[in-house]
Symmetry: C2
C-alpha cells in the first residue's frame, strides 16, 4: 500500500495538489470525507466538525451548534474528542489497504508505521491571498485583510495542534520528504512533476 | 537561459544532486570551478580560498597561508574581499548566458534577476553523518562526533553569511522553489524526479 500525505499552509493550493495527484496516480483521495465520517460516527453535524477541526473557529461557532455548550472549555474538550475520533478514522483508512492521498490532519505522523510519502506545501502570503480571492464566492465578501488574518489564525492552530499532539514541528522541512513552494506555479502544471517524485519514491530500491 | 541553484546542508548530498542534475539536463555545472576562478583573479591559493569560503575555517588556516596575516580581523577582511570577488564571478557566469547548475554561494539571491529555479537540500543529522563517513578517505580520520561538529559549524556559517549578506533566511522553505529531504534517498534515484520538476518549471506557461 502506498500512502501520500499532504500538509499545507492555508491557501497554498495543497488540497488541489492532493486531488490532482490522486487523480494522476489513481489513488483514493481523503479530505472532507474524513469530516463526514467523524460526524457520522459521533452523531454530530458535519459543519460543526468542520468548524471545530478545520477552521479552528470554535470561538465563533454559531449559536445553533452551541445549544448544549456551557463554556469554551467544553468546546475545547469537544475538540479533543473529535481529534481522537479523527485519529481513529485515519487509522481505519490505512487499514483498508488502498493506495491513497490524505490531505492534512497530521496523517504523516499518525500513519508513520505505513511509511507514507510526506509533502508539505507552502507559498508566499500574497500568492496565498490571490489564490483564496480567486476561489472565494462573491457572497463570502472576503477582503485581503480578512483573509490574511484568517490564514494566520488557521495556520497558527494547525501548527499548535500538530506540535502538541505529535511532537513533530509543522512546516519544518526535515519532517517531510519534499516541501513545495507553489508561489509561482499553477497547481495543474506542477502536478506531473510531483507525480514523478512520488512514483520515484515508491519505485526506489530500499 | 535557465539557471538552477542548489543550496544545501553540509552532508545532505546537494553537490552530488547538482552534478547529476547538470548531467541529466546537459547544463554547465559550477561548484569548485568558482573557487579556482576567484583564486586566479585574486592571485591567491585555491586551497586558501576554499578554506575561507567553503570550510569557513579561517580560525584554523594553516600557518603557510597566514604568513602575512597579522590578526584574525585581517582574515575576516580577506573573507569579505573574497566574497565580493565570488559575487562578481557568479554574475559573470550568468552573463555568459549558458544554462547552468550552480551549487551554493547564495547564487539563488545573487542571480534573482535571472529567475533561477532554486532548490534547497536537507537531511537528518544521522543520514548526513552516514553520507559523509561513506565518502571520507581513510586518512581523514573522521569520527561521527568530529563530523557532527564540523557539519554544525559549516551550516551555522552558511546561515550567518547568507542572512547578513542577502537578508534572506537560509533553509527557510519560502525562499526556495522546492526543498528536498534526502534522508531516505539515494541521490542517483532521486535525480530523474528533480529533473522532471526543473523541466516542468522552465516549460510552464507564465
Amino acid at each position: 500500500m502506498r500512502i501520500v500525505t499532504i500538509s499545507r499552509e492555508f491557501g497554498s493550493g495543497g488540497r488541489e495538489l492532493g486531488k490532482r495527484l490522486a487523480d494522476e496516480l489513481n489513488f483514493d483521495y481523503y479530505d472532507r470525507e474524513i469530516i463526514d465520517t467523524i460526524a457520522h460516527n459521533t452523531g454530530t453535524d458535519p459543519n460543526y466538525v468542520f468548524t471545530v477541526l478545520e477552521n479552528h473557529g470554535w470561538k465563533n461557532i454559531p449559536l445553533t451548534f452551541r445549544q448544549s455548550v456551557k463554556s469554551s472549555l467544553t468546546v475545547q474538550y469537544a475538540q479533543t474528542e473529535l481529534l481522537i475520533e479523527q485519529k481513529r478514522v485515519i487509522e481505519e483508512i490505512a487499514k483498508h489497504g488502498n493506495d491513497c492521498v490524505i490531505v492534512g490532519r497530521n496523517a504523516d505522523v499518525l500513519l508513520q508505521d505505513y511509511c507514507p510519502f510526506n509533502i508539505f506545501v507552502c507559498a508566499d502570503v500574497q500568492a496565498k491571498i490571490r489564490r483564496c480571492m480567486e476561489r472565494a464566492t462573491q457572497d463570502e465578501n472576503l477582503t485581503p485583510k480578512v483573509l490574511k488574518r484568517k490564514m494566520q489564525n488557521i495556520d497558527k492552530q494547525r501548527k499548535q495542534i500538530r506540535d502538541i499532539l505529535t511532537g513533530s514541528k509543522w512546516g519544518e522541512p526535515h519532517n517531510y520528504h519534499v516541501t513545495i513552494n507553489t508561489t509561482d506555479w499553477e497547481i495543474k502544471q506542477l502536478t506531473p512533476a510531483v507525480t514523478a517524485i512520488v512514483n520515484r519514491w515508491f519505485g526506489r530500491k530500499q
